[in-house]
């Protein structure tokens, strides 16, 4: 029986200034190596859940065990360090720092996390090799790509670079927030394939959040946010995010 990568129990959260709860999750867990698809309409609390999982926000009550550590008990700085060490994040778009090269973007997590740096060194010998290997695995191995300013890349290419960055140093948990929503169908398909392949290779767990249910068939488990979130009414969180 694989260990849970994260286990949420009795977590509640509400936005400041709002009386009602945004999230109320009595119990929810994800197992190691699982590829989980969470869907829900916008405003159902997806972003809030991700902020909690990534340790950006702290729940009002309850426990958030991630990799055996109750991150809701950690300090702000402690959660930041935890995120840097164990979690790779991919967003819908604008993932890259515009003034850094592709390689430098991929290496960013290694600047802030010693653990990720050491793991990348251990797997490939040196950081540059780790970054180029990941880039070639996501199909961005050509030199002309790597020299290009990131702003010149297509959205699909940017998402591939973002995936390589999330994977460097093999973090245990990859959280992807609508990473394919800006891509066309072909690009979506190839992006998902490479993401699955790489997640498997590095033994990571994938939490994939999307409103697009056409993708769900490829995942190990599919969860509707409304199933785990017991708030009485769906809320509009867009403005507050």
């Amino acid at each position: 029986m694989p260990l849970p990568v994260f286990r949420v129990s009795g977590v509640t959260y509400h936005w400041r200034g709002q009386g009602h709860l945004t999230l109320d999750i009595p119990a929810f867990s994800v197992e190691s190596g699982e590829r989980l698809f969470i869907h829900g309409p916008s405003g159902s609390g997806k972003t809030t859940l991700l902020n909690l999982l990534a340790g950006i926000s702290k729940p009002d009550s309850g426990e958030m065990d991630v990799l055996g550590e109750n991150i809701s008990a950690l300090s702000n700085a402690g959660r930041d360090v935890f995120r840097a060490n164990h979690i790779g994040l991919i967003f819908q778009m604008f993932n890259l720092v515009p003034y850094l090269s592709i390689i430098e973007n991929v290496l960013l997590p290694c600047r802030f996390s010693t653990r990720r740096r050491e793991r990348a060194m251990a797997s490939d010998g040196d950081l540059y090799a780790a970054a180029t290997r990941l880039l070639s695995e996501v199909g961005m191995n050509e030199r002309r790509h790597q020299k290009q300013p990131v702003a010149k890349l297509s959205v699909g290419q940017q998402q591939r670079v973002a995936a390589a960055r999330a994977l460097i140093g093999s973090p245990e948990l990859i959280i992807a927030d609508e990473p394919t929503s800006s891509l066309d169908a072909t690009a979506q398909d190839s992006f998902l394939r490479l993401l699955f392949r790489e997640v498997e290779r590095s033994n990571s767990t994938l939490v994939f959040v999307s409103h697009d249910r056409r993708l769900e068939s490829r995942f190990d488990r599919v969860v509707a946010l409304s199933e785990i979130n017991h708030t009485s009414e769906p809320l509009d969180e867009g403005g507050a995010a």
């Binding site: 967003f91 515009p98 290496l107």
Partner: protein, 422 residues
């Protein structure tokens, strides 16, 4: 990986905003140059001012204000309202405790440069800076009646060499149409540069002053009178009046008593001053200007820093995604704080370097102009301790100013979380 990852990021980020960052840097550099420049000019002016005359214990002239006396006798600015009689001069020179005297007779000019009638004691006793003697770059003190010794700037500006002839104008006009052209002089010596008004003076003997005025009365040539130079040489050219006297005493303490007794001299109203005291008084008059300049330059720096803070704050909104990305890859708020402060530090240090470079360019351009127009000789030297301290303080102020946008960036990043929807 870079040893200073945050600093490297800050530099890349600034490079990404070349135009705004460059303009901010330039504005800050100009303001820093201004502070350094004002400080430099202030310092040098004060030093060159205090160095104009030394070793002279008393300056004596007709009774007027002490600053006026100092101005015309030492700085050769303005005019004496009255002269001292030769008799009074001899009285002073003969007093006990007086080691030496140098009489000065002013009132004529040569192409914009003051002509000083004096004795050869002038070259012996006049001291400037730290008791430095006047020295000759060529020639020697005047010997013949129509010999002249010119200061370095005079020789330079008018291209005079030893043996060249020159004509003294009557009065102080630059284009003196009333000239003493019937009595031409010959350059007998050129003094080395001193950085004092001596450089802009023409020195002739007291007798020569008398000689060129033989045919003159009340500032005008007496019609029909033209005494030949040969004839003049035969005449008694003992001066009847002089303008001021520089006095050296045997002991500094004696100077006070001497000053008091000269001020109470019954023969005619005289004024004796201590040059050091008068110099301080004069500098005190300029204190307001000095302070104003310093305050203005500090305000310019303040405006420059304000510009930098404005640029950084304005940039924060468009950098929300950038900061959110950095947080998502593990940057903590203190990293973001360090990033913004590093940017401010890089801008400040860059500005300080550029400002220093601009200062030296400005000094190279301004040096000859200030020297010839205002007699202020700015020495171009490597930045001294004082300059380094100022630069350090300015950089410190820049970094301090950067903490405000840095703090805002942290707050904003914390409020934004990971997903920025702009």
């Amino acid at each position: 990986m870079n040893k200073w990852p945050i600093l490297a990021l800050a530099l890349r980020s600034l490079a990404n905003r070349k135009l705004t960052a460059g303009l901010t840097l330039f504005a800050l550099a100009v303001s820093m140059m201004l502070v350094l420049g004002v400080e430099k000019v202030r310092h040098e002016a004060k030093a060159s001012f205090a160095n104009t005359i030394s070793s002279t214990d008393l300056i004596v002239g007709a009774r007027s204000g002490s600053i006026q006396l100092l101005l015309y006798s030492v700085f050769r600015i303005g005019n004496a309202t009255n002269n001292i009689s030769w008799k009074s001069y001899n009285n002073i020179a003969g007093r006990p405790g007086v080691a030496w005297t140098v009489p000065l007779s002013l009132g004529d000019s040569h192409r914009g440069f003051r002509v000083i009638g004096t004795t050869t004691d002038y070259f012996k006793h006049y001291r400037y800076g730290r008791k430095r003697n006047l020295t000759f770059s060529s020639g020697k003190p005047f010997d013949d009646l129509f010999d002249a010794v010119v200061g370095w700037d005079v020789a330079n500006a008018l291209g005079y060499k030893m043996g060249d002839p020159m004509v003294v104008s009557h009065g102080l006009g630059r284009q003196g149409f009333k000239t003493h052209k019937d009595k031409p002089f010959r350059i007998a010596g050129v003094l080395t540069k001193t950085g004092t008004p001596v450089d802009r003076s023409v020195h002739i003997s007291l007798e020569a002053i008398e000689a060129i005025h033989v045919d003159w009365k009340s500032g005008a040539r007496v019609p029909g009178l033209q005494t030949s130079t040969d004839r003049v040489r035969q005449m008694d050219l003992k001066p009847r009046t002089i303008t001021a006297v520089l006095v050296g005493t045997d002991s500094r303490f004696g100077a006070f008593g001497l000053m008091r007794s000269i001020n109470e001299y019954p023969g005619e109203p005289l004024l004796a001053i201590l040059p050091g005291v008068a110099l301080q008084e004069l500098w005190g008059l300029m204190g307001t200007v000095e302070l104003t300049l310093s305050v203005i330059s500090l305000f310019v720096v303040f405006a420059g820093l304000l510009g930098m803070v404005t640029m950084m704050l304005a940039g924060l909104n468009e950098r929300r995604r950038e900061l959110a990305i950095l947080r998502s890859v593990g940057a903590r708020p203190r990293h973001l704080f360090a990033l913004l402060v590093s940017e401010a530090a890089a801008l400040s240090i860059g500005s300080a370097m550029l400002g220093l470079a601009l200062l030296y360019v400005a000094l190279l351009i301004a040096q000859p102009i200030l020297d010839t127009q205002f007699g202020l000789f700015l020495e171009i030297t490597a930045p001294n301790k004082r300059d380094q301290l100022i630069l350090g303080l300015l950089i410190g102020a820049g970094i301090l100013a950067g903490t405000f946008p840095a703090w805002r960036a942290c707050r904003q990043a914390l409020a934004d979380g990971l997903v920025v929807r702009v």
